[in-house]
């Protein structure tokens, strides 16, 4: 399969006398900023890096780290303020025209014409690249076969699923057989199965010699790349082979068995100890990461560590270690906090967390969903879903975009009526008294829904007003929020100027200001850096221990380890419901002895739909 660079291109490169080992892309001292209001925001800050020819280079970092800006600069779509880029020996953007056919670029939102069919999209780009007719036909056939889209050439691009759009975008970018392929977050919004297929396609390409840059917010994805570039705030945090980074970080990871009801408290205790770089929930264990310099004995953990088993180190450990070295550890700040988040609530029975069965007695269920369905015309977004959530539980709805998570969520928030079935929240039937139910719920929307022009204080005051808090109660809750969420320094800052992590904290504070019994979180940590994500879940842990019930949606599988129980949904149907540890254990096979939740999801979906990828049946 001739998917890699064309023989002609390789020949001409050789003719130009390019040494084989020369980096495909050389970036020196690159700076770029964008205007925002009266000042400028730095997107890239004196970035310098070489990207080797061939192989997949992962470009990782949270939202706003500068990934998209860097890719656009390499593609000649933006002009840097200073510094230089050389791509295959040509200066960018001065010599971009000479090198343009060698660059394949897939922007974040596919960049496809949705009104055009698959074949028309390909034809357009074939003509734009001026491919000879015969070569185009052959190439098109190859790519259709390669991406598995051959049966869908007459379908409008707008009617393809996310995964298929992504493959078509890839095919369009590959038409002219580029030597460098730039992919901007190709895995966003794509279900894990399609993501794996896409990864395999790109892996094949890189094997054929194409230099691929794959930008992603997921560290587990980056770990599979041949090399990674980690960006944080426009600067280079780390670069190299994932294995070298993991070794270089000199950390040791252990799995510590822990009682389910104690796990969140233990997590905070351990995080507060010096030498503990990271402590995350993983099924019935706490996953601990120590910096190598501090012996475990000093941490006072010797007796407990006897029960711990060493765990393989991950790229995430290395990144978290690096980040912790650079900034104050917010996780430890949270761990040291003892601020009661809400009014006292009855004690919680979490004893059965890890052994909980799928059916909770409806008596102590805070959320009860029975045979819930929601149809939009012919399309069934939620298809006969039943589950219940008990007090003090973190319950996750997990699935790819379009699985029906957000629809279920909106029904439970009283924003959307159900087509059939029933839903009760805090004992209130959503069929009748939606407004009453809403008063008991704190809702944190995707992308945070804060007012960008208002200060943090004003945003909080608005939320307090919306939920009917009087002046005295607001003053009391504001003091609490400032202490609990460490908002003191940013209280009067205009919201749009805040970092994503700060926005997330503010948004959470706004959602719990009226002391709700239930907290609904819609994709709460997508795009934020690993430390902010840890900080977030530690705070959630504090709420849960004081009796709050949390319902969370996510398409980020590994994050779901923070949930007590997970419902896996796909295409409107609930496929599995259990604790994260149990779900993973059920998917252990000889091929995958230690499956991640992502692996478990793929296995569960494939079991439910014999015949492989669900898309191809669509």
């Amino acid at each position: 399969m001739a998917i890699g660079p064309s023989p002609a291109a390789t020949d001409s490169a050789a003719a130009n006398g390019e040494p084989i080992a020369a980096p495909a892309i050389e970036i020196r001292d690159l700076c770029k900023s964008f205007p925002r209001g009266h000042d400028r925001v730095t997107a890239l800050d004196h970035l310098g890096i070489d990207i080797a020819a061939g192989g997949i280079t992962g470009l990782v970092g949270p939202d706003g780290a500068g990934k998209t800006t860097l890719l656009r600069l390499i593609a000649g779509l933006l002009t840097a303020e200073s510094g230089s880029i050389r791509l295959l020996g040509h200066g960018i953007p001065a010599e971009i025209e000479e090198i343009r056919p060698e660059i394949g670029y897939m922007p974040q939102r596919f960049g496809l014409y949705e009104d055009l069919t698959v074949a028309e999209n390909l034809g357009l780009f074939g003509d734009l690249h001026d491919l000879p007719r015969e070569a185009f036909e052959q190439r098109q056939a190859e790519l259709m076969h390669f991406t598995g889209l051959a049966d869908f050439t007459a379908r409008l691009a707008g009617n393809l699923s996310g995964g298929m759009k992504q493959k078509l975008g890839l095919a369009c970018a590959l038409l002219a057989q580029p030597r460098v392929l730039l992919l901007d977050e190709p895995s966003v919004g794509v279900d894990p199965i399609s993501r794996r297929e896409l990864w395999q396609l790109v892996r094949d390409l890189s094997g054929a010699g194409t230099t691929v840059i794959w930008s992603t917010a997921y560290l587990d994805e980056a770990a599979k790349c041949d090399s990674v570039i980690v960006l944080q705030d426009g600067r280079l945090l780390a670069a190299g082979q994932p294995s070298a980074l993991i070794t270089g970080a000199a950390t040791r990871a252990f799995l510590l068995p822990v009682k389910p009801e104690e796990r969140r408290r233990r997590q905070r205790q351990l995080l507060a100890l010096p030498g503990v770089r990271d402590a995350t929930l993983l099924g019935g264990h706490l996953r601990l990461v120590f910096s190598d310099g501090v012996p475990a004995e000093d941490a006072g953990l010797a007796p407990e560590l006897a029960a711990a088993t060493p765990a393989p180190a991950r790229l995430e450990d290395a990144i978290v270690t690096l980040l912790r070295e650079q900034m104050p550890a917010p996780g430890q700040a949270v761990a040291n906090q003892a601020v009661a988040p809400t009014a006292p609530v009855p004690p919680v029975d979490t004893a059965s967390t890890d052994t909980a069965s799928t059916d909770v007695a409806s008596a102590d269920a805070v959320i009860a969903v029975n045979h819930l369905s929601r149809r939009f015309g012919n399309f069934t977004a939620v298809d006969d879903v039943s589950f219940s959530v008990k007090r003090g539980e973190v319950f996750g709805l997990l699935g790819p975009n379009g699985a029906g998570k957000s629809t279920t969520f909106r029904i439970l928030c009283g924003l959307l009526p159900a087509s059939s079935g029933s839903a009760t929240v805090a004992g209130i039937d959503l069929g009748h008294a939606r407004a009453d139910a809403r008063q008991r719920i704190g809702y944190m929307a995707q992308r945070f829904s804060l007012y960008g022009d208002l200060s943090c204080r004003e945003n909080l005051r608005f939320m307090a007003g919306a939920y009917g808090l009087d002046r005295r109660r607001f003053a009391r809750r504001l003091d609490w929020a400032v202490a609990a969420f460490d908002l003191g320094g940013i209280l009067d800052a205009v919201c749009s100027t805040l970092s994503l992590g700060h926005k997330q904290r503010l948004s959470l504070a706004a959602a719990v200001l009226h002391e709700p019994d239930l907290l609904f979180l819609d994709e709460p940590t997508s795009g934020v850096d690993p430390l902010a994500r840890r900080d977030f879940w530690l705070r959630i842990g504090l709420f849960v221990e004081s009796g709050m019930t949390v319902l969370v949606t996510s398409h980020f599988m590994d994050e779901a380890e923070n949930c007590d129980r997970i419902a896996i949904v796909n295409r409107g149907r609930l496929l599995a419901l259990d604790t994260p540890g149990k779900l993973r254990a059920d998917c252990v096979t000889p091929e995958q002895p230690d499956p991640s939740l992502d692996d478990a999801f793929v296995t569960i979906v494939q079991r439910s739909e014999p015949g492989g990828s669900p898309e191809l049946q669509a």
Partner: protein, 378 residues
């Protein structure tokens, strides 16, 4: 040259534009539904004729002659007259805005009509708040009075001494003085300003919104090719919108057409290119459809409505606003269309205006080409 303009790439882009036009209803909405809606709304709503204006006739005494004068006021279709006994009652009605004006017919003035040596004073009072209507009402009242006087004279009830001068009116180009005949051609110009600019501005903004512009820029397509593909495809659509508007004007509003369709097509084409290029220029600033629509309304529709001479006579504007009207392309198109519809192929009017429209088309296209850069900065 082949980097900047290649036929194959241009054709591919054009094909794409036409497929999109056919499959996405929004372009069709702008090109056909909007002009029809705007023409219907404004064509019927915007009329400068005053008909059935409430008017008072104060009759201090009821004599056969005053009654006959009152009849004359009742019979005219332009005034809806009602009788009053005293001037005070009519004044109250005027203050209450029940009538726009009144005439006082004093018993003695009518009685003395036969006495030719005395001038005949009549008091006509008009609500002057709306100066335009006031002047029209005053004219109507004077006309009714004059007509009545003539009739009475020929009937012999008054001594028939002919007045020294007889005015014979002849209104050229629009003999019935229908304001619709004058407004609709201008309205077509205004509507086409909006349609032309909106088509390109919205379609490019949509490409920005959907992220396809980014892919186009990363492809070998040049700025010139992208611009030409947008101009040409929307030119076809815009000319069709023009045809629909003209047909609507001719059939529904019964506007006469005295020029040639060839000339009409020529000036429309020139104007349309300038409007489409202006839309593209707007799209270099506005990258989402909402902002694009707002800017287009403010920068094209409003000036075209206010400063094109359609609603307000340019010659009576303050000098600095008159100067400003020269940069409103619609001004020249309004002049062309009014001439073509009501007068004919008057080259003395059409030629200079067409040359200026050509200048606008070239200027906007060049500015747009310079402003459209092939990157995402901006």
């Amino acid at each position: 040259m082949n980097r900047i303009l290649r036929l194959r790439r241009l054709l591919a882009l054009l094909r794409k534009e036409f497929v999109q036009i056919l499959r996405d209803p929004s372009a069709i909405m702008i090109a056909f539904v909007m002009p029809v809606a705007l023409l219907l709304l404004n064509g019927y709503g915007l009329s400068l004729d005053a008909k059935n204006v409430a008017f008072g006739v104060v009759m201090e005494a009821q004599t056969p002659r005053t009654i006959s004068l009152y009849r004359a006021f009742v019979d005219t279709p332009y005034l809806a007259s009602r009788p009053y006994r005293t001037a005070d009652a009519a004044e109250t009605a005027l203050l209450d805005r029940e009538i726009k004006g009144y005439i006082v017919v004093r018993a003695d003035t009518v009685r003395n009509l036969s006495d030719q040596l005395k001038p005949q004073p009549y008091l006509i009072v008009v609500d002057g708040v709306d100066a335009n209507t006031a002047r029209i009402v005053e004219g109507y009242a004077a006309g009714v009075l004059g007509g009545w006087y003539q009739r009475e004279a020929t009937n012999g009830s008054l001594s028939s001494i002919a007045p020294g001068v007889v005015l014979e009116h002849r209104y050229w180009f629009n003999p019935e003085l229908r304001s619709t005949s004058f407004i609709v051609p201008g309205l077509i110009a205004v509507v086409m300003t909006l349609v032309g600019a909106l088509l390109t501005a919205m379609i490019v903004a949509r490409e920005w919104e959907r992220g396809t512009m980014e892919t186009l820029m990363a492809s070998p397509a040049s700025v010139l090719e992208v611009m030409l593909s947008k101009l040409l495809s929307n030119f076809v659509l815009g000319m069709m919108a023009m045809a629909v508007s003209v047909i609507l004007g001719l059939v529904l509003f019964q506007v006469p057409f005295r020029g040639s369709f060839l000339m009409l097509a020529l000036v429309s084409a020139l104007f349309l290119i300038s409007a489409l290029a202006l839309g593209l220029l707007i799209s270099t600033v506005a990258r989402n459809q909402f902002v694009a629509a707002q800017i287009t309304f403010i920068t094209t529709y409003m000036p075209a409505l206010m400063l094109s001479g359609l609603l307000f006579d340019i010659a009576s504007m303050p000098q600095w606003i008159q100067d400003l009207t020269h940069i409103v392309a619609a001004r020249y198109f309004v002049a062309c269309l009014q001439t073509l519809f009501l007068a004919g192929d008057i080259s003395a009017v059409l030629l200079p205006n067409a040359i200026i429209l050509f200048g606008f088309a070239i200027a906007f296209s060049l500015i747009t080409l310079r402003r459209m850069t092939r990157n995402l900065e901006g």
